[in-house]
Each structure stands twice: as structure tokens, then as C-alpha cells.
């Protein structure tokens, strides 16, 4: 069977789940099993599409101008399989997660349609199809963001919908420009015709695609919707949005700027590189200051998109200099990180989901000590954290390692800017890595370790089996994608070959070796070395120390007696040094309110509150919206309610037309 049949079956599964959700059934959460099956067969479709490299589905006409055309190539196949992998795990998770939701029906419906729309985006073959799928995806995700319909989520949804609509406007613009200059709406014929495009037209398209798709992907400074929208949605949805939906932005960008536009000038790549670096650093910096777990993860999505763009950007830069092998390496890095981020970010959001499920709060200051009550969630969340911090031997490290290689190879680029910027990108990546590590030490340490910081945290229970299973799948994948880079590369290299005309001669016989830098890496070897030495260490310790008994007592804490949970280090305290070091970026505000019984000796209460300034909202978006509203309000006087004025309009219009019209 070819990919088509699997595709159809998979979509059929999803749609049947969606339609079943509308019927009055009991226990609708089990419909997610259908979604699992759908994800499974679509995953197969994706893999086989990667190898087959071509798939064309019969078009469905809509109107004389438009028709729905779906097709697929290896790139689409890659994204197809990424979506499917995450969808599978999330669906498993959801069975338990939505059990005691009130309105399951609509959630199941929206969930399935949402997934189908993401598949549709990836498989779209012409402008119309792409736009319809794209906007459908946006609409459905908007519904999901506003799923529990309180003011907060409504606001978040509004910001999200409006910003992505602005993005869509740019996408429409770029499509129209493409269409006008290539005279075709089909991507395939655009690709063929794009070679003849004049330079400035290409530039317009490129800029539009950065803004348009960047908004969806959440690059700085178009990211503001992301930390609002993702926390508002239910956690399984956040996992999908953060794991794969924003990746469709990356897909669209690659599809347009690398695939259809073909080779561009060097500054394109450099721009993307810089945007990537900035997004990575700023994203993680803001993440550090968040104590709302889901917001924190949302900011990390911005960071990881930045890392992906580091790869993609340097790939574009190399390609425009004709260094195809290096370009291939960089693109591989980017795509590899795309997959990895989907996996570990999904895992982390699911973990957060089960945390929130157990503790009824997203604020990590109210958690703590959960690793004892929720051992599995704790373990999987830890694995996710280690992976996102790019620590070996997990998957995050492999892709960041490849990114490093690509950035170091930037030295081979002819232009001095590229030479300079790509190592700096490397430094930015290092900084990002360190910050991410700090952030997840905070996230995991504060919420899972130490003593419970609230009653909810104290009587938290481990989540249900299916939720654990969902997380387990992703956790295992985190490890596998780390220690089996060969398999992953087989998924990626066909599309890389299509886009850059080279496979970057990255060899992966157990060892991932980039012959361009004579460097090699084997996470598997690292893992096994550590396991081996670990065992050795245990044995040695036993031998050296003999059997010794362990006494359990309160923490010593330099002899401080009766430690209470209020005395623990808080997340705020943990990040304070960083807040002070980067105060130029955070612009922190703090106030200390002290009320005395007898000034200045006896303090009754002492209230400390500090916040950081959300730079982009405060100095970019709020003024903009305010301006728009002010100007609009001025227009009110046109419709003053005075009939004579209206009659005046008629006269004036008529007069003007009579004078200038004829």
C-alpha cells in the first residue's frame, strides 16, 4: 500500500472520531483511541512518503478559480510524521486527561479537526488550499485556546487570533505576489517559474514570509500571542500547539523561502540567523522569569524556534554561497531540532498537564515535593527537562550539536559578516543552553523537589495510567531520538537532499560524524560509558567503603532547626541573580511595603512584590493598539447623527463627482 491509502485511512479515523463526538455517547474520552489509530496510520503514511518522495491526491474543485489540491514530498512527509508522532502520544494521554472534563464532546471534535487541519496545511499544494487549511487551523486552535470560556482565555484568544490573522494577511500578500509574477497558484509550477523572478520581488516575498510565518512560529517580536495562548488551552492542546502547530510556521517558511524561492542573496540567511539567535536568547530569558509552568514552557517554545531558525538561517546562508554540503548540515540540524522539540516539548506539556491535573495550579511556587507523590510524572518531566536543556545523551543535545557544527562551519563562508556572525550565533546558543539549564533546574527543582509548598501539592496523587503511558512514549522517544541519530537522519536526509542538493555527508553508523569538521558524536556511546562507569563506581564504592548504614534525619542546613516549607528557596529567589544581571533587558520593578507596629522597631507585616516589564507589549503593541483606537475614535464625528450633515454628504459627493467624474 502506498502512502495515499494510509493517509486516507488515518484521516478517516480522525473524522469518524470527530463525527462520533457530536453524537450523545457516554465516555467520549475513549474516542481518542480512534485518534491514536489515525495518528498511527498517518505516521506510516508520513514515513513511507519520506521514502517514496512523491504523492499526489486527486484535486477537488471548489469554484472556477480555486480547487483543493493535496500532494506531498519528502519534506511534507517529514512534518507529517512529526505531527503523527506527537499526536499519537498526546491522544493516549488525553484518554485519561479529559476524563472528568465537562464538555468532552466539543473538545474531542475540535481536537480531531485541529489535527486534520495541521495535516492539511502540510500537504497543501496550492495557494487556496494552503490558506483554507491554515486559517482553519487558526480558527480551531482559537476555539481551543478559548476552551474554558473565562475572560482571561477570551483575551488570550483574541490576541492570538488577531496576531495570527495579521500574519495571514502577510502570507496572503506573499502568495498573491508569487501568483502575480508566476501566473500560477500551484506550488509546483511556482517553483519552476520562480527562477525568473526579479530580485526585489523575491525580497518582498521573503520579508512577507518571515513576518507571516514567523508570527505563527512565534519569533521575536511577533511572539506575544504565544505565552498568552498556550497556557490558556487545555494541556494536551498546548502540547500540540507548542509541539507541532508552531512548526507549521517553520514548514511554511522553508516551503516558501527555501523550496519555492530557491536560492536567495546571502543577507536572507543572515537575517534569519540573527532573528533565530535573538529569539532563542530573549525567549529563554523571559522563560526564566516565569513561575507559571505553562507560560514558562511557552517561552521555551520561542527559544527552540530560535534554535531551529539558527540552523535554517545558516543553511540558507551557505546555500546562497554555493556551499551546498554545509547548507545540508545546517538544514539537517534545523529539521532534527524540529523533531526533537516536538517530542520533548510535548512531553513537558503533558507532564505539566498531569501536574496541573493533580495540584489544580500552574504556579510552581505552590507545588514542591511532588516527585514523591507522583514518581512517574516526575521521572518523565525530568527526562523532558534534560532533553530540552540539550544534555547528553538525550535528543536535544544531538540537534544542538549539529547546530554548533553548522555555525562553526560558518567560517567557510566568504563574507566577513557571515564569518563573524555564525560563531556569535554559537555563543548565543551556548548562552541559551546555560539559561535553559538554569530555567529547568528551577522548574523541576521548585515544583518536584523539596517540601510541598501548598496543601494541594501535599495531597497530590499520581495521574491515571493512560496519562503516564502518553508521557512514557515521549520519554522513550526522547532517549531513542538521542541515541539512534541514524534513524532520524533517514527521515530527514531525503528532504535535505531535495532542498540543498546534498546530504551533507553526515555519516551515522552508530556514530554521528560530520566529515566536514572531522568531528563525531555518539550519544549511545556516552550513555553506555556512563552506565558502565556508573556501575563500576557503585561497585568500587561498595568495595572501598564496605557496607555502611544510612541514617535518615532532617536536613542539616548549617544546623538550622525545624525547617519548614516556607523557608525553602523560592523560584523568585532562585532567579534573582539572573534578574539582576540582565536588568537591562528585564527592567525589573520592585516594591517593598512595610507596615509597622512601632516605627521603625516592630514590623507588623512586610510585603515584597516585584515584576519585570514585558518589553514588547509595553513599548510596541500597547502603543500601537492605543493609536489605532484613538484614530478610529476620531472618526466617530463623521456619523454624528445629524440628518442635515448626512444630506450634506450626498450633495458634496454629487458635486465632486459632477466636477471630477465626468
Amino acid at each position: 500500500m502506498g502512502p495515499e491509502s494510509f493517509l486516507y485511512t488515518g484521516v478517516l479515523f480522525f473524522l469518524s472520531a470527530a463525527s462520533a463526538s457530536l453524537m450523545p455517547l457516554p465516555k467520549k474520552q475513549y474516542l481518542f483511541i480512534l485518534s491514536c489509530l489515525g495518528a498511527l496510520s498517518l505516521g506510516i503514511a508520513g514515513f513511507s512518503l519520506v521514502s517514496a518522495g512523491r504523492m499526489a491526491l486527486s484535486p477537488l474543485p471548489v469554484s472556477p478559480d480555486f480547487q483543493f489540491v493535496f500532494s506531498g514530498d519528502s519534506l511534507a512527509g517529514f512534518f507529517l510524521s512529526v505531527i503523527s508522532i506527537l499526536t499519537f502520544a498526546v491522544s493516549v494521554f488525553s484518554i485519561g486527561y479529559v476524563k472528568d472534563f465537562k464538555n468532552k464532546g466539543s473538545l474531542v471534535f475540535l481536537y480531531n479537526i485541529f489535527i486534520v487541519s495541521m495535516y492539511a496545511v502540510v500537504l497543501s499544494e496550492n495557494i487556496f488550499t494552503f490558506l483554507v487549511s491554515w486559517e482553519t487551523m487558526t480558527v480551531i486552535s482559537y476555539f481551543l485556546v478559548t476552551f474554558d470560556r473565562n475572560e482571561k482565555s477570551a483575551k488570550a484568544g483574541l490576541v492570538y487570533a488577531v496576531m495570527s490573522h495579521i500574519g495571514t494577511a502577510f502570507i496572503v500578500m506573499l502568495f498573491l505576489v508569487l501568483y502575480a509574477h508566476t501566473g500560477s497558484m500551484e506550488f509546483s509550477s511556482m517553483r519552476a517559474a520562480s527562477l525568473r523572478l526579479p530580485e526585489q520581488v523575491k525580497t518582498i516575498i521573503f520579508v512577507c514570509s518571515i513576518i507571516g510565518f514567523g508570527t505563527k512560529a512565534g519569533i521575536i517580536p511577533f511572539h506575544t500571542w504565544l505565552p498568552k495562548a498556550h497556557p490558556a488551552a487545555p494541556s494536551n492542546i498546548s502540547a500540540l500547539m507548542s509541539g507541532v502547530m508552531i512548526k507549521t510556521g517553520i514548514y511554511g517558511f522553508i516551503r516558501i523561502s527555501m523550496d519555492i524561492l530557491g536560492q536567495g542573496p546571502e543577507w536572507w540567511g543572515i537575517t534569519v540567523l540573527v532573528i533565530g539567535a535573538v529569539s532563542a536568547v530573549i525567549g529563554v530569558l523571559y522563560a526564566l522569569m516565569e513561575h507559571d509552568l505553562k507560560k514558562l514552557l511557552a517561552y521555551h517554545s520561542i527559544e527552540n524556534i530560535g534554535i531551529i531558525l539558527l540552523g535554517v538561517g545558516s543553511s540558507m546562508m551557505f546555500r546562497s554561497n554555493g556551499l551546498y554540503v554545509l547548507s545540508a548540515i545546517a538544514l539537517t540540524a534545523g529539521l532534527y531540532h524540529t523533531l526533537n522539540h516536538a517530542i520533548f516539548k510535548g512531553l513537558l506539556f503533558l507532564g505539566t498537564g498531569s501536574l496541573v491535573h493533580a495540584t489544580h495550579t500552574q504556579n510552581m511556587e505552590d507545588m514542591g515535593g511532588l516527585i514523591k507523590s507522583m514518581p512517574y510524572t516526575g521521572l518523565f518531566f525530568l527526562i523532558g527537562s534534560v532533553s530540552i536543556c540539550a544534555l547528553p545523551p538525550f535528543n536535544g543535545f544531538v540537534s544542538e550539536w549539529l547546530t554548533y557544527q553548522a555555525l562553526l562551519l560558518g567560517f567557510h563562508a566568504p563574507s566577513i559578516t557571515a564569518k563573524m556572525l555564525s560563531p556569535l550565533g554559537g555563543a548565543a546558543l551556548a548562552l541559551t543552553g546555560a539559561l535553559a539549564a538554569a530555567c529547568f533546574v528551577k522548574a523541576f527543582g521548585i515544583s518536584f523537589l523539596g517540601m510541598p509548598r501548598s496543601r494541594h501539592a501535599r495531597d497530590a496523587k499520581e495521574s491515571s495510567a493512560s496519562m503516564i503511558a502518553g508521557m512514557a512514549i515521549l520519554a522513550v522517544l526522547c532517549l531513542l531520538a538521542g541515541i539512534l541519530p541514524g534513524t532520524v537522519l533517514r527521515m530527514i536526509s531525503p528532504s535535505v537532499l531535495n532542498l540543498t542538493g546534498s546530504d551533507g555527508n553526515i555519516h551515522s553508523a552508530g556514530f554521528l560524524s560530520v566529515s566536514q569538521t572531522f568531528s563525531s558524536l555518539s550519544p549511545a556511546a556516552i550513555l553506555f560509558t556512563m552506565l558502565f562507569t556508573g556501575i563500576a563506581a557503585v561497585v568500587f564504592v561498595r568495595a572501598a567503603g564496605g557496607k555502611r548504614k544510612t541514617v535518615y534525619a532532617d536536613s542539616w542546613d548549617c544546623g538550622m532547626p525545624s525547617l519548614t516549607s516556607r523557608m525553602q528557596y523560592t523560584a523568585t529567589a532562585f532567579t534573582k541573580p539572573i534578574r539582576l544581571i540582565f536588568k537591562r533587558i528585564y527592567l525589573p520593578k520592585r516594591e517593598l511595603r512595610i507596615s509597622y507596629i512601632l516605627k521603625p522597631l516592630f514590623v507588623k507585616s512586610l510585603k515584597y512584590s516585584g515584576e519585570i516589564t514585558p518589553f514588547f507589549e509595553r513599548y510596541l503593541y500597547e502603543p500601537l493598539t492605543a493609536f489605532i483606537h484613538r484614530t478610529a475614535a476620531k472618526a466617530k464625528m463623521l456619523q454624528s447623527g445629524n440628518l442635515n450633515l448626512y444630506l450634506g454628504y450626498i450633495l458634496v459627493t454629487l458635486m465632486l463627482l459632477l466636477m471630477f467624474g465626468t
Binding site: L60, P61, V62, S63, P64, D65, F66, F68, F101, K102, N103, G105, S106, F128, L131, V132, E135, T136, V139, F143, T146, D148, R149, N150, E151, S153, A154, G157, L158, A161, V162, H165, I166, A169, V172, M173, L176, Y179, A180, I628, H629, T631, A632, A633, A635, K636, L638, Q639, L643, L645, Y646, L647, Y649, I650, T653, L654, L657, L658, G661, T662
Partner: protein, 501 residues
């Protein structure tokens, strides 16, 4: 064809004579149904080719058939909706039994006049019909309901502005008539059929003058900015079923007049002249509406402004011309005629439940009345031009036509307005739909239907209400993914009639 004109009048008579208010509603429903039955063969044959009766006084071709079909469909829809609506209005004492009878009588007269517009072969006759629609609908807005001073204000503005405007249209018709005299030698003609044949021979200068008067005149009625000012008031103060008719189709009947004239004027003046004027009006309409939608605090007015926007898009499409442009415009007429009534219906229900048309006084619709909320969502998003809903297709067709002509400035403005309007619509309706009680609302979501019914006046009529609204909503979605074959052929036929190459 004559029956199509007789049936509404008869129904109107019966309605005005009947005693019981309950029955009247169903009588009018039956009337519209009968009308539909009578009209179907006419419409079908009209698409096949022009048909005329009464020695060519009544005439129907594809274009009139198209508008006619919409008129009848919407009349039916609002006849259905009116039943439940009026029952509620009567319960709260906004209207008396006498008022209800008068309402239905006027409703059917209104339908009659609109049908007459589409059937008139003689342009002056068409003018008379259009003026008649103004008078009747003004009565429906103002006098249909007691104790509504705002309605009276709105009606007054409506009738004054439209009459003034349409007076100029008549002047335009006179000028056209004059222009024909020189061609026909002595005797002038106003028959559409004849005019089409002699159009190329008409004197361009005269026709330009005529068209300007026509555009300003009918443009006022069609709600094109900057002569749109009556529209927000009238649409927001009219009873919802009437707003639906006004917005959904009355504007289009006026625009139908413009289209007819365009196809007469173009051959003599060349299409650039009319095209530029229509584009100008279209852009102004979109700009004005987008600004006002952004600051709107009253959801019915918001809908009214969105009608202005969509009329703007239609006239933009006409102005761009060419197959794509006109196709887009005609398709947009239909899509708008499906989406807007839905929105006015739901807003009528919301108004009935919350007793206010202020956005700030409404919240949590989605939680309190899930069905209604969902329908509102679909309607609002489709009006905002969001796929996968119908209006996106026609808007995108128009946009594509613009780009085909290479008018990038217009394309950019178009996109800008669309984004602003999306923002306005979503923030407005978002505020109404969400809020209220947070996650707890989930419980009600399960048994949303009966809650919804409970909030509506009487079960039968409310079932009818929901039925018609769901019908419209499903049409929105269906037309959002495909343009059915018969509609496609219909539109193509209209394009032939308009003589677009």
C-alpha cells in the same frame, strides 16, 4: 410570473384581515412557501433564457432570477423567524396583535416590492419599485412597533435620505431616456431589453452624467459610503427579521439597479469610467466600515457596518470587472445574503435574552446558550472573511481579480481593512460570547439544546427558529468548502447577461 406578484399581495391582504395573531404568522409562512413554489419554474426558465409577460412589462433573465431567488429564500427565512420573534416581542409587550397583523401585511408588501424590482423590465418602473421598498420598509422599521422613539428616528432618516438619493437616480433615468431619444429618433425607451441592444450607440457624455446620478442615487440605497449614513441606524433599530431582509437582500436589489446601469453605460463610455467610480465607492465603504466596526459598542450597529463593508467589497468586485471580479461580486452577494441574516437572527435572540444591544451588557452567550453561541461564532467568523466559511471564497476571488489587474495599492488597502474588521468583529463578539461563569459552564454545554429552547419563547416557533438558523449556518459551511454546480452555472449566466467578456 404574474403570480409571483399576486401571491404576496394576497397574503398581505389576508394577514391584515385575520384576527388571531398566532395564525397570521403561519399564514405568512404559507404565503412565502407558495411564493417559492410559484417562483421556482420562473427562476429556472429565467436562467435558461430571458422570459417576459404582460407585453414585456415584466421581464426576467438570469441576473434578476439570481436576485429573485435570494429575495424569496430570505423572505421565507425571515417569515419563519418572525413567528418566534414576534411571539416573544408580544410577550414582553413591545407589539400588539394589531401591530403583528400590520407587521405581516407590510412584510409581504415589502417582499412584493422587492420582487417587482427584479421583475421590472422598464427602468423607471424599477425605480418606482425601489422607492416603494423604501416606503414600505420604513413603515416596518418605524411604525411596526410602539414605544420606540429610536426606531422612528431611524425610519425618518432612512426615508428622507433614501428618497433624496433616489430622486437623483430618477434624474439619471430621465437623462438616459433623453439619451435614447436621439438614438431611437424621437421616441425614447427605458426598456432594459431595448436599451441593451442600443447601448453602444448612446452618447457617452450623457451616459456619464446619467450614471453619476444613478450611482449616487442607488448607491445611497445600497449603503455605499459616503452616502451610507441611514444604514447603521435603520438596520440596528429595525426588528431583527427585517434587519435581515434589509441587510441581506434590500441593499442588493438597489445594487442590482446599479449593475443594470453599468451594463448599459459600459458599452458607450467604456468600462473604465464606471469601474473606477465603483472601485472608489467600494474602497471608501470598506475603509469607513472598518473604522466604525473597530469602535462599535452596539452589536446590531456593528453588523450594519459590516453590511456596508460587504457592499463595498461587492462594488469593488463589480468595479474591477472582468470575469473574476464580477464572479466574485455575484458570489459575494449570495454569501453575504446567507451570513448576514444568520447574524441578525442570532442577535435578535441575544437581544431577546439580554434585553440590550450594547456589547458590554452581554456576556457568556456561549455558556448560557451554547447552540446560539456556536451559531454566532460561525456567522461572525464568516463575516470576518475567515476560511473555511463561505465569504472567504468570494473575498479571495475579488482579491485575486484585483491582483490580476495588478492594482497592488488596492490589494494592500483591502487586506488592511479586512484585518481591522476581523479585529473589530472578533473583539466585539468575543466579548459577548465568552465570560460569564468560567469553566463550570461545561455542565450546561451537554444539554445545551433544551436550555436554548427554554430561553426562547414557545417551543414550536423556537424549534423553527433554531431550524432556520442551523440551516443558514450549514449553508455557510457548505459554501465555504465548495461552490455548488448549479450556483456556479447561475452566476455564469448572470455574467453573460451583464455582458462581461
Amino acid at each position: 410570473m404574474v403570480w409571483m406578484l399576486i401571491i404576496p399581495v394576497v397574503t398581505a391582504l389576508i394577514c391584515s384581515l385575520l384576527k388571531s395573531a398566532r395564525i397570521t404568522g403561519y399564514v405568512s409562512l404559507a404565503g412565502t412557501a407558495a411564493l417559492a413554489v410559484a417562483a421556482l419554474p420562473v427562476i429556472i426558465s429565467a436562467f435558461a433564457g430571458p422570459v417576459e409577460t404582460l407585453r414585456g412589462v415584466l421581464y426576467a433573465d438570469a441576473l434578476s432570477g439570481y436576485i429573485m431567488a435570494l429575495v424569496i429564500f430570505l423572505s421565507f427565512a425571515s417569515a419563519v423567524y418572525s413567528i418566534g420573534y414576534l411571539e416573544h416581542e408580544r410577550k414582553v409587550g413591545l407589539i400588539s396583535a394589531k401591530g403583528i397583523r400590520r407587521y405581516y401585511a407590510l412584510l409581504h408588501l415589502f417582499i412584493f416590492t422587492m420582487l417587482l424590482v427584479t421583475l421590472a423590465n422598464n427602468l423607471a418602473l424599477m425605480w418606482i419599485a425601489i422607492e416603494a421598498t423604501t416606503i414600505v420598509s420604513a413603515l416596518l422599521i418605524g411604525l411596526g412597533f410602539s414605544k420606540r422613539s429610536l426606531a422612528i428616528e431611524a425610519a425618518w432618516k432612512y426615508i428622507i435620505l433614501c428618497t433624496v438619493g433616489i430622486t437623483f437616480a430618477l434624474l439619471g433615468i430621465f437623462i438616459t431616456y433623453y439619451a435614447t431619444i436621439s438614438v431611437m429618433g424621437g421616441e425614447g425607451v427605458l426598456n432594459w431589453t431595448t436599451l441593451r441592444s442600443i447601448a453602444p450607440k448612446l452618447n457617452p457624455a450623457t451616459m456619464k452624467l446619467a450614471f453619476i446620478f444613478i450611482l449616487v442615487g442607488y448607491g445611497t440605497k445600497a449603503g455605499l459610503a459616503p452616502v451610507h449614513n441611514w444604514l447603521p441606524d435603520a438596520h440596528s433599530e429595525a426588528p431583527s427579521p427585517i434587519s435581515a431582509l434589509l441587510s441581506g437582500i434590500l441593499l442588493n436589489t438597489a445594487f442590482y439597479g446599479i449593475m443594470r446601469f453599468v451594463s448599459i453605460t459600459d458599452p458607450s463610455t467604456g468600462s473604465a469610467f464606471t469601474g473606477n467610480l465603483l472601485i472608489l465607492f467600494g474602497l471608501i465603504s470598506m475603509g469607513v466600515s472598518s473604522v466604525f466596526i473597530l469602535i462599535q459598542v452596539n452589536y446590531k450597529r456593528l453588523l450594519a457596518y459590516s453590511s456596508i463593508e460587504h457592499m463595498g467589497i461587492i462594488s469593488l468586485g463589480m468595479g474591477i470587472g472582468g470575469f473574476a471580479g464580477v464572479y466574485g461580486a455575484l458570489l459575494h452577494i449570495m454569501n453575504h445574503a446567507v451570513s448576514k441574516p444568520l447574524m441578525f437572527f442570532v442577535s435578535g435572540r441575544i437581544q431577546a435574552n439580554y434585553g440590550s444591544t450594547k456589547i458590554e451588557n452581554v456576556n457568556g452567550v456561549l455558556s448560557k446558550m451554547p447552540l446560539l453561541g456556536t451559531l454566532t461564532f460561525i456567522g461572525a467568523l464568516s463575516l470576518a472573511g475567515m476560511p473555511p466559511f463561505n465569504i472567504f471564497i468570494s473575498e479571495f476571488t475579488v482579491l485575486k481579480a484585483i491582483v490580476d489587474k495588478g492594482l497592488w495599492a488596492i490589494a494592500v488597502l483591502f487586506l488592511l481593512c479586512v484585518v481591522l474588521i476581523f479585529y473589530g468583529m472578533l473583539s466585539g463578539f468575543g466579548r459577548m460570547l465568552f465570560g460569564g461563569n468560567g469553566h463550570a459552564n461545561g455542565a450546561e454545554h451537554e444539554k445545551g439544546e433544551d436550555r436554548d429552547a427554554a430561553s426562547a419563547p414557545v417551543s414550536v416557533s423556537s424549534a423553527l427558529n433554531n431550524g432556520i438558523m442551523i440551516l443558514l449556518a450549514s449553508l455557510i459551511i457548505i459554501f465555504g468548502v465548495t461552490v455548488p454546480g448549479f450556483i456556479d452555472t447561475a452566476i455564469r449566466a448572470c455574467i453573460d447577461v451583464l455582458g462581461v467578456e
